[in-house]
Subunit: 191 residues, 2 copies
């Protein structure tokens, strides 16, 4: 891990982190069991509380499950279009078998508050700790506390990619600006 790889990141305000998840991105989840870091692809995620809590589905069938259980920490990286083939490939293999960082040429970069690494090639990364695991046994559903967030200030808005759930994906198209219409939610619209 080198500090150089995180030079592209600036801290992203916690009260805007929902903007990274509400649109429905496909993400990479980074975990670390001691010396060994792992990555998985995930499409089941959402904001739960503005600036505080995310929900994420990681099941016992995922190799990352054990690390999340044992360490209570992960980083969620949000990839852009240029990483999408890699993101799909990562979803096809298990960290039990291969070092995905090495195989796919991804760079683990040090996080500030957790041991799991940031994914330097993602345009945004969110450091998380487990906030509530009551629904993990029955639903593989983790509630995560948002600890710190990072963004590449040069990344265009809406760089995330949406999985349509069938192996096809959507990039974002037309941006529709209805901020002036959000009269009740004006506070959400500030830059």
């Amino acid at each position: 891990m080198t500090d150089r790889s995180t030079d592209r990141f600036a801290q992203y305000p916690l009260d805007k982190v929902h903007r990274l998840f509400e649109p429905g991105p496909v993400v990479l989840v980074s975990t670390s069991e001691g010396r060994r870091a792992n990555l998985m692809t995930n499409g089941f995620n959402m904001p739960v509380r503005h600036s505080a809590t995310l929900a994420l589905v990681v099941g016992p069938w995922d190799h990352s499950y054990t690390a999340l259980r044992e360490t209570g920490e992960c980083v969620i990286g949000i990839p852009g279009r240029e990483l999408l083939e890699t993101v799909v490939d990562i979803g096809n293999v298990s960290g039990a078998d291969v070092d995905k960082w090495d195989r796919y040429g991804l760079t683990p970069a040090p996080a500030a508050t957790v041991r799991a690494p940031l994914v330097a090639e993602c345009f945004a990364n969110v450091e998380c700790t487990v906030a509530d695991d009551r629904l993990v046994d029955d639903y593989s559903l983790w509630l995560l506390r948002i600890e710190r967030a990072w963004i590449d200030p040069a990344a265009p808005a809406g760089a995330e990619i949406h999985h349509r759930g069938d192996g096809t994906f959507s990039a974002n198209g037309e941006r529709i600006d209805l901020r002036a219409r959000m009269t009740k939610w004006e506070a959400l619209t500030h830059d």
Copy 2:
């Protein structure tokens, strides 16, 4: 309510319902307290289990919360681009004050398994019952059982709209087909 308004809908297979939510749509949640139906706008939702379970954030600050608590039922409607201004307007007013169906010219259509109505103008509707409310008190997070789903077969794929969390929205742009690459998840890629 007339049956006519649901003529456009065909039943949508439950094992594909995650395709409606995984991309991250802004949705309308329909509830019914006895004779009175209500609608709310929601951007915090995701699939939890393929074909079985969804997660949705509805808090006590939402008028629909009481109906969801009392009836244990709702319908989630997924609007297309042509409904987006209405969806934002619905998010600005409370069902405690106005009949949103009437004010916004939306048509409640009978559901098959719940009393909450489908939104005839949405291109897809999913009938849900509450599966687990353990995280409602602390996180306003509801787990919903998927009971039945409907789609307008004429709706284009990817008609959903993504809220970027700040009053701007994204329509879907380029469709990227990586089905051939989903070797581990080939079963998800079938039509």
